[in-house]
């Protein structure tokens, strides 16, 4: 029982962090950023030397954790901000569909860049190997990594909440997410807020890369895509642009996946995702605006 709870929480953590990264950018830019998953993949590969060999040549992956974690977070934030400056800034006045397609294209550019440097073969890496040891809690044996995933996610969520509520920059981000042009008329600098949102979102991608990379022990250029599909769904169910909703829906989806894995009859288990998506459709039928409707549908300027 405890095992199921922890499985649900740790899977939900990944979805929640992913959904949050998308919701942050959607909030200030009305952009659904499909390149987000590829930023995650980039962060994992940033730990390896470029080579097309099957054997991974570890580079930054050998750093002690207190250097490794900031390195990966900075990689994500850096790439994400670069995407904003080089690409998205030029499309800021374009309509949402154009921006969405741009983000698709950008995702492919990042993916093929990785493909070129590292080949498409998944590589096995062992990140922070000490974390795969089991620990015993209330009689259940859990991988230490799972515990750390959950604790780290909670710490990130609390940290982000405090940041948004207590700092000047957080206030500007919340105002801009609700009504961008009004915020600008009150002196909020558009570029600063948007770059901040991209940096935060990229750092979240780095966090996912660390967690997912250590869980699976592989670096795969497709790895971002698998989490991102669920994360996108979580963002939509949560109410596009609502940060709380994205997190809540991420955890709900994680829980739904794990519970169905356990509850479904053995024959139906391979179709687990179909059941999860079915549940998603049901939710959206009853609450098309998402679980928590975001405020401020004003167009960005």
């Amino acid at each position: 029982m405890l095992q199921i709870l922890f499985d649900a929480l740790s899977l939900g953590s990944l979805y929640a962090l992913g959904a949050l990264g998308i919701a942050l950018i959607f909030g200030v830019m009305r952009l659904v950023n499909f390149a987000h998953g590829d930023v995650i993949a980039f962060c994992v590969f940033a730990l390896l030397w470029p080579s097309t060999d099957a054997m991974a040549i570890v580079f930054a992956g050998q750093l002690p954790w207190y250097l490794l974690v900031p390195f990966v977070l900075l990689c994500g934030a850096g790439l994400s901000v670069l995407c904003e400056i080089v690409v998205f800034r030029r499309f800021r006045k374009a309509n949402p569909a154009t921006m969405m397609i741009t983000s698709f294209a950008l995702g492919f550019v990042i993916r093929y860049f990785l493909l070129m440097l590292y080949s498409s073969r998944p590589k096995s890496i062992s990140l922070l190997p000490t974390l795969s040891q089991p620990v015993e809690i209330f009689g259940a044996r859990l991988p230490l990594l799972q515990l750390i995933t959950i604790i780290a996610t909670m710490a990130i969520l609390i940290g982000l909440t405090l940041f948004l509520r207590q700092t000047r920059f957080g206030l500007e981000m919340r105002a801009a997410a609700e009504n961008f042009s009004m915020a600008r008329m009150l002196g909020v600098r558009a570029n600063r807020v948007i770059m901040g949102a991209f940096a935060l979102s990229g750092a979240l991608a780095g966090a996912i890369a660390l967690i997912f990379g250590s869980q699976t022990g592989t670096a795969d250029i497709q790895m971002g895509a698998s989490i991102m599909l669920m994360a996108f769904i979580a963002t939509v169910i949560g109410g596009l642009g609502s940060l709380g909703g994205a997190v809540l829906a991420g955890f709900l989806l994680g829980a739904a996946s794990v519970v169905m894995q356990v509850m479904l009859p053995v024959d139906a288990r391979p179709f687990r995702d179909a059941f999860v998506y079915g549940a998603v459709i049901l939710v959206l039928l009853f609450r098309p605006q998402g679980l928590i409707a975001a405020r401020g549908t004003k167009e960005r300027v």
Binding site: T167, L171, E178, N179, S181, R184, M185, L186, G187
Partner: protein, 244 residues
């Protein structure tokens, strides 16, 4: 020298010309009403000054600097503060947070709350109701309270000129009276320059000052509010709109 000067401003929405060759200027400390029927182009004009609606032609100067096509956040830094039509309160933020947004341009990140404190107290002194509910969600305020909030919010940027688009919109007449009372006190206290848009000329006649009447994207009358309001020209100008 004038504080705000527009020359030959034209605004288009794809093929519709909403404002055509409008020119006027405002001296520091002046109070100017822009009136005219719905669709005359009043809001478009204010949004163009604020920098959120692009102009198709013409030039705008504020405090001696050209601001045509500048970013709204830079125009705000030159002392222009906007209270838009429909108020645009940040409904999910608290009342105090709504007020604090505008202090960003003057206070830096370190200790911004303390630096903003004196400005907050000044606004709370004018609108005690805002102080009572400072931690309440702004979206839950009544229309009149929201109007007070957005005027306070505009004051927090410490502006030279405040532009207010239809402050009476959706308010009971006695609430509108209260809003105008505060505005007049504020103007005297702070030496504010006020640019107020209203559909009807009734308020302009009560308050006094200068009045511009717009119709079909152009200025049709410009003069002293009380003189204009009592003349026959205004009737013709207003009802001329319904002719075609």
């Amino acid at each position: 020298m004038s504080l705000l000067a527009l020359s030959d401003i034209t605004i288009r929405y794809s093929r519709l010309t909403a404002v055509r060759d409008v020119s006027f200027s405002m001296a520091e400390g002046e109070i100017l009403f822009i009136t005219g029927p719905n669709g005359a182009g009043k809001s478009s004009l204010l949004r163009a000054i604020a920098g959120v609606t692009p102009v198709a032609g013409g030039r705008i100067d504020l405090a001696g600097q050209e601001i045509t096509s500048q970013a709204p956040e830079n125009i705000a830094r030159l002392g222009f503060s906007m209270v838009p039509e429909g108020r645009e309160v940040f409904g999910s933020l608290t009342i105090e947070e709504n007020l604090l947004i505008g202090t960003g341009m003057h206070a830096n990140n370190r200790g911004w709350r303390t630096r903003a404190a004196s400005e907050l107290e000044a606004v709370y002194a004018t609108f005690p109701m805002l102080k009572e509910r400072r931690n309440g969600q702004a979206g839950l305020l009544s229309g009149g309270q929201q109007q007070m909030l957005v005027i306070g919010r505009a004051l927090m940027t410490n502006p030279k000129l405040i532009a207010i688009d239809e402050p009476s919109l959706g308010l009971a007449p006695n609430i509108t009276d209260q809003v105008y009372e505060r505005l007049i006190v504020l103007r005297a206290q702070r030496g504010l320059t006020l640019l107020i848009v209203e559909q009807s000329s009734a308020r302009a006649m009560m308050v006094g000052g200068r009045m511009i009447l717009m119709r079909g994207g152009q200025i049709v009358l410009d003069g002293d509010a009380r003189t204009l309001g009592n003349g026959e020209a205004i009737q013709a100008a207003y009802f001329g709109y319904e002719d075609h």
